[in-house]
């Protein structure tokens, strides 16, 4: 693990990985979107509107996954003072915020025809909105200090505090009897989705994951280069 975590090594091996990640993302999105939007059957209750699920559900999964990844990287950065971990955490935040926003917007677009409302203040929707604000708070706190090291440490603590929200989001639909339906895929007794719809969903989830890794690698590389430039400028200024 530490073998790959040196910033210079990271630049080298991620550079080789980048085209593969890009190709996998485009391929998975191509196949996944074709299956989700065209080849998969309509739902017995929801008809064609069910296709929003193929974007909404992976986006919501990634919103949680990014947060856990961000908090994990932040914890590593906080405890072992590893610079690359701080950069990974910082680079994950805007991606996760974008996934969260996508989940909220597609959820509203889905809710209007199905439930009859764009938004309700039930436990699931409220806790995901709180997740979105946690991302925004993380990003704001990270950039609020003149010393980037302090920003990284302070926002890492915030990310760890916000971790309590993750199980609340996951289990809100099981603990409270809300308007949002319970989990369909990861639940006791196996998935409640017919295989003809489950496979496109899983392909879309894989596409979203590849997209996250791709954008993350690009952002981390940019951050490392920015750090190097800053270090060079400082050396120039102070001789």
């Amino acid at each position: 693990m530490t073998r790959f975590a040196n910033p210079n090594r990271f630049l080298r091996w991620s550079g080789r990985l980048l085209p593969w990640l890009a190709a996998a993302t485009i391929l998975l999105f191509g196949v996944g979107l074709y299956l989700a939007l065209i080849a998969s059957p309509p739902d017995y209750q929801q008809g064609e509107s069910v296709r929003i699920m193929y974007v909404h559900v992976p986006a919501a999964w990634m919103a949680l996954f990014c947060y856990v990844a961000m908090a994990g990287a932040a914890a590593v950065g906080l405890i072992w003072r590893h610079p690359l971990a701080d950069i990974v955490a910082k680079a994950s935040a805007p991606i996760g915020a974008a996934f969260t926003l996508l989940a909220l917007v597609t959820g509203a677009l889905w809710g209007k025809p199905m439930w009859g409302t764009w938004w309700v203040w039930d436990a699931r929707l409220t806790s995901v909105l709180v997740l979105f604000f946690l991302y925004l708070g993380y990003i704001a706190l990270n950039s609020a200090f003149d010393d980037p090291g302090r920003g990284a440490r302070a926002s890492a603590i915030l990310a760890l505090v916000g971790l309590v929200n993750v199980p609340i989001i996951k289990f809100s639909v099981d603990w409270w009897y809300t308007l949002h339906q319970p989990a369909s895929v990861i639940r006791a007794g196996g998935p409640a989705i017919h295989p003809s719809m489950l496979w496109p969903l899983l392909l879309m989830a894989a596409a979203f994951t590849c997209y996250y890794l791709w954008v993350l690698a690009v952002r981390v590389r940019g951050e490392i280069v920015a750090h190097k430039i800053r270090a060079l400028r400082l050396r120039q200024a102070y001789g």
């Binding site: 009859g116 409270w176 009897y177």
Partner: protein, 161 residues
Amino acid sequence: MKRKHKRLTFVAVGLGLLGLAAALFVSAIGDSVAFFHSPSDLANQGDLGDRRIRVGGLVEEGSIERGHGTEVRFRVTDLARSVPVVYVGILPDLFREGQGVVAQGRLRGGVFVAEEVLARHDETYMPPEVAEALKQAGTWQHMGQHMEAAGAASMPADGYQ
């Protein structure tokens, strides 16, 4: 007290508090903190006055009557009790007999006057042909047959096996 003992005490106190929090959450959830009330809840309530409340349950089979314009009358049931609902407005696509529904409004003289009707769907997804085949094979279990009489616990739905 030695430093190590002190730290152990702190960890113990912290874990104890977390355990207490978990116990409190679990017992509160056992009491059903619901987004809405079931028809049985309403029957057990005293006078609600003119408060806006939410009632949730299933649309009773064969209870939908269309009136003038967009007026609709139906009954919401939790399979133990049911309450008549009247609503004027546009219903969501998913509104149909046997489907989960949440209505917001006021109880007036035993009739629930809804201002907003929201449909609730279960976690089951399948193509219509599969649903049809399951119905014919007799292995069909609709969400209503699983809904607990109290209406407060979560609604397990095993659409297909």
